[in-house]
Subunit: 328 residues, 2 copies
C-alpha cells in the first residue's frame, strides 16, 4: 500500500524527487514523464517507466500523486492546472507575485476533478513561509526578516548569462552579517536591499569579450544588480566546472518581537537553512507534501492548498499516536 | 465579533496571556478565574471580571476559548479534562512522558462536550515539536537535536530549593557550543547529556547552612544534576533579586540530514529561540493557538489536538487570500 508517485519533468528537481522517494519507505516511484524522447532519458530507479509527457493522463488511477518538477516561468502555470484535475498534484511554483492567480487556476481545476493540489512547496515559498506565518502569529508586535544565501541564484545567474560576451556565469547571493546581527540583537532595523545582501558573480567570458564592459553591464542591471554591491570575478571554464558546479543555497527567517504589558520583553525566533543542494532540498520538501496531498485527498479534501493550509502531522509517515509519544 | 477569551490561573503564564490578548486585535479578554480570593487579585486589563474558579462553568456560552494557565504537575491533569467538555480550551501541558494519557482524557471530554481542545502548546512541547516533525519529514535520512537554554529551568530551580539550607535558588541550563558546532558541521554526533548541556546554579543559603554540603547535594542529585557538569555560585538575597529575577529561556532544534542517490549532499535546518521571558512567550503561543481552537471549533472540529494537528494558517488573523499574497 505504498503511495504511488509520478514525476513530471526530469531535470535537477525531478531527479531530486526521485532520490527523496527512495528515502521514504511508504512511497514508490511509478513513472517519470518527460518532454524529451523517453528512450533518451535514463532514470536512477530500477524498473521505473519513462514516458512521454503526452501519455501522463493515461495514468489516471495508477498514481496517487503527480509531483510537477517544471519551472515556474512557463511550465507550471500550464501544467499544474492541467494535471490538477486528473491527479493529486504538488508543485514548487515560486513566482511570489503570481501565486494568487496560480492558486485560483489550480483550485478551480482540482475542484472540478475532485483532487487535492498543494502549490508553492519548497523552502521559499515553503518552509520560509511557514516560519513567517508562525512568527507573526506568535509575536504580533514585531517584525520579520528574510535573508537568502549564501547560495546560487538561478535567476541572477541566467540574467548574467544573457549579457553579450558571457559564456557562462554563476551568481551567489550573500546575506550581510552586519544586517543579521542588527536583527538578532533586537534593533528592528529598516534595511535597504543593499544593506541586506551582496552579490558575487563568477563569469566565463567568450573569446575576445570586453570584461570591463560586461562588469559594467552586470553592476548596472536594474532589479537584479543595480540596488546591490556586486563583485564580479572572471574565471576560466575549467574553474567554473571545478568550483561552481554545485547548487548550494539557504537563508534565514527571523522574527523579532516584544511581549509584556508595555512590550518590555524581547524575543527572537530564527529559522535557517544551509543546503548543499537547493534542488534536492526543494525536492525533499515536495515529496513530504506529496504524502500530505495523498492523505488529505484520502480524507476527502478537494481543491488547492498551500503549505499554510496543511497541518504538520500530514507530512510525517508516523501516526498521531507515535508523533505524540515520540516527537511532541 | 472578537474572540472572547477566558484565563484560568493568574500567575506568570496567565498574566502573559493577558498581555498577549492585548496585542491581538481580534480578541477580547472577558474573565480571569483564580483559586485565590477574587478581590485579592488585580488584573491589568480595565473592566475585566475576576471570578473564583468555582464559577468558571457558569460562563458557558460567554467565552469562545478558555486558556488554562495552571501547572503541568497537578493543575492541568485535572483542569483540562474538566473544562474541555464545557469550553474550547488550550493548555501548555509539558510533561512529555504523560502527553498520550493527557491527550486521551482531554479528547474524551472534548468529544462529549462537542468542543475543540489543543494541548501541549508552548515552545517545548510546541514550536520545537513542530520543527522536529517538519525536519524529520523533509530530511528522513538524518538526525535531530534539541538543545535548551541559556535559560532558567523552573524544575531544576525547584529541586535545588528543596535542599535543606537553601533559601532560594535559580538554575540556568546552558547548551554547549562545542556540541552545537559539531551538529552544525554535519558530524551527526552521538551526545551524552554531559556533552550537550552544562548547569549553573545560583544559591542563597539560609543562615548557618553548610555551603560545601549543599553544593555536594546539588551536584550528586540523580536525574537533575548527576549526569551534568554543574557549577554552583553562592550569592546574597540582594544579588538574587537584582540579577536573577527574570525568566529568560530559549534553545535550538536542529535537523541534520542527507539527500541524493548516495546521500552525497548535506543539509542543516536550524530553529532557535532567544526569549527574555519564558512565560510570556509561552503565553503568546497559547494565545495564537486559542485563535486556532476557536476557528477549528467554528468549522465543526471536535476533540483534542496538538500543534501537530493544526495548519499554520489557523494561527493567523489574516485570511487565506492575504496570507498567500503577503506571507507565502
Amino acid at each position: 500500500m505504498s503511495i504511488r508517485i509520478g514525476i513530471l519533468g526530469y531535470g535537477n528537481l525531478g531527479r531530486g524527487v526521485e532520490c527523496a522517494v527512495k528515502q521514504n519507505q511508504d512511497m514508490e516511484l511509478k513513472a517519470v514523464f518527460t518532454r524529451r524522447e523517453p528512450e533518451s532519458v535514463s532514470v536512477l530507479t530500477p524498473g521505473v517507466q519513462v514516458c512521454h509527457v503526452s501519455r501522463a493522463a493515461d495514468f489516471r488511477g495508477e498514481l496517487d500523486v503527480l509531483i510537477l518538477c517544471g519551472g515556474s516561468a512557463t511550465d507550471l502555470p500550464e501544467q499544474t492546472p492541467e494535471y490538477a484535475g486528473v491527479f493529486n498534484v504538488v508543485d514548487s511554483f515560486d513566482t511570489h507575485a503570481r501565486i494568487p492567480e496560480h492558486f485560483a487556476r489550480v483550485d478551480q481545476a482540482a475542484r472540478q476533478g475532485g483532487k487535492t493540489a498543494i502549490i508553492s512547496v519548497g523552502w521559499d515559498p515553503g518552509m520560509f513561509s511557514l516560519n513567517r506565518v508562525y512568527g507573526e502569529a506568535v509575536l504580533p508586535q514585531g517584525k520579520d526578516y528574510t535573508f537568502w544565501g549564501r547560495g546560487v541564484s538561478q535567476g541572477h545567474s541566467d540574467a548574467v548569462r544573457r549579457i553579450q560576451g558571457v559564456a557562462d556565469a554563476r551568481q551567489y547571493t550573500i546575506p550581510l552579517d552586519s544586517a543579521l546581527e542588527a536583527v538578532r540583537v533586537g534593533k528592528n532595523p529598516e534595511l535597504t536591499p543593499r544593506q541586506k545582501h551582496t552579490r558575487e558573480c563568477f563569469v566565463v567570458l567568450e573569446k575576445g569579450a570586453d570584461g570591463a564592459r560586461v562588469e559594467q553591464e552586470i553592476k548596472s542591471m536594474p532589479n537584479y544588480f543595480a540596488d546591490y554591491d556586486t563583485t564580479v570575478h572572471f574565471i576560466s571554464a575549467e574553474e567554473m566546472q571545478r568550483d561552481h558546479s554545485r547548487l548550494p543555497h539557504g537563508g534565514f527567517v527571523l522574527r523579532s518581537g516584544a511581549t509584556g504589558w508595555n512590550q518590555e520583553n524581547s524575543h527572537l525566533i530564527e529559522y535557517s537553512l544551509k543546503l548543499d543542494s537547493n534542488p534536492e532540498f526543494t525536492a525533499s520538501v515536495l515529496t513530504a507534501y506529496a504524502r500530505a496531498a495523498w492523505r488529505l485527498s484520502s480524507e476527502g479534501a478537494v481543491g488547492c492548498k498551500t503549505v499554510l493550509d496543511v497541518a504538520p502531522a500530514y507530512l510525517s509517515p508516523r501516526s498521531g499516536e507515535e508523533l505524540r509519544a515520540a516527537m511532541l
